[in-house]
Symmetry: C2
Subunit: 222 residues, 2 copies
DNA sequence: GTCTATAAACAGATAGAC
DNA sequence: GTCTATCTGTTTATAGAC
């Protein structure tokens, strides 16, 4: 059946993508060791053997999931941050950061796929290995670096200084917590779900904090 | 129930404690499903069967670990926050929060046990169940509530309002990220470890942020 | 209460038919 | 390329000796 003529649209690629999708979802929820490859195959509507065929084994799928995570989050955060340049204008740098954070928070807090993406990343951080290296070099390092440059421009401080880097990490921490801590947040806020309304409240909190922290950083730089 | 005569010092209690300790460490690093009870027994220097004996099974140990986590973190955060009362004095409320945050951040960022405690909590949040309920009612709800009251006093805003609750969650997010994201932070900061020096830099970042955010919240409340 | 031995279920990898 | 059947090792839980 799997001949790659244009009518069939390479079912190989489709199976591959379905496996990564299923792997991300299950690894995120139940953990890597907690997920049997049989479940992944079932979720992707294929057979167990196809995981060894496409990725060489369970570990290969893990790495492929890490690649997918880095790619997806760069699409959300990256294209807004990585490409743009404030050109020394503090106000513009702050505006760019606000736009980027809004996009990031909206995606991370409200989009359903973000649950699995965030959970996958957090799990990899609890047990660092090749998959985390992937995510670090392809996502975290470039995005954090770009945010540091914007932060430096916005506050007039050294973008390479430890305090700038820590400030940006603190900012990132706020965002990821709104996803990871979701069940706790829902319960405490009395929310049923994080829809557009709730996401906007979170966006308002984070962007408000950004402005306050940048203002404080600017004052401290004098 | 073990017989508690003072001479033997109940080795039962010791085994129990050693199992919880080992469980917390291994569950945090490799996840619940990723950890065989044989490994836990070996780490606790006892036999596999003792887990079923003391906790009824692997799930029982999981719940006992959740209890231990809640208890331990209440000792760190709780005794400073839960007991004290600002009595309507904004300055005093801010000072209490600063003291509490310093203790919390120092513990979470620098203490080795905190790695496993934080990882355990995050994993439970990714896959909510009875253990998370434990942690929520015995730790998160009371501590978050106390911080909201202090925040309300410090900023002059309603401690029960959604924006206050979200602000406190954002603050908490910063703290936990400095533990969860540790491997990434070490790499990006060029640090070998988080010792007293590095912990102080993190404490300075977080308490600085606290002051800036409270000041902004106070201004907004006018 | 502790521990060894074992049972019954389940894991990931792979050979070979299609 | 896909899928079934199977191999080999490992898992949790438990029975029973001490």
């Amino acid at each position: 059946m799997p001949k790659t003529d244009k009518a069939t649209r390479t079912s190989s690629e489709q199976t591959r993508a379905a496996l990564i999708d299923a792997g991300l979802r299950l690894f995120g929820r139940k953990g890597f060791e907690g997920t049997p490859i049989r479940d992944i195959a079932a979720e992707a509507k294929t057979n167990v053997a196809s995981i060894a065929y496409h990725f060489g084994g369970k570990d290969g799928l893990r790495l492929a999931c890490a690649e997918a995570v880095a790619l997806r989050l760069r699409q959300v955060a990256g294209q807004t941050i990585l490409s743009s340049d404030a050109g020394g204008d503090g106000e513009k740098a702050l505006a760019i950061m606000e736009t980027a954070l809004t996009a990031l928070v909206t995606f991370i807090a409200a989009r359903p796929e973000a649950r699995d993406i965030a959970a996958f990343m957090m799990r990899e951080m609890s047990d660092p290995g090749p998959a985390l290296d992937q995510i670090y070099t392809n996502l975290i390092h470039p995005v954090h670096g770009a945010l540091c440059r914007l932060w430096g421009t916005a506050t007039g401080t050294d973008p390479e200084s430890p305090s700038t880097r820590l400030a940006v990490f603190a900012l990132a921490g706020q965002i990821v917590y709104f996803r990871i801590g979701r069940p706790v947040i829902l319960k405490r806020m009395g929310w049923q779900d994080i829809g557009p309304d709730e996401a906007n409240q979170i966006v308002a909190t984070v962007t408000g904090n950004l402005r306050a922290l940048v203002a404080a950083g600017k004052a401290g730089a004098k």
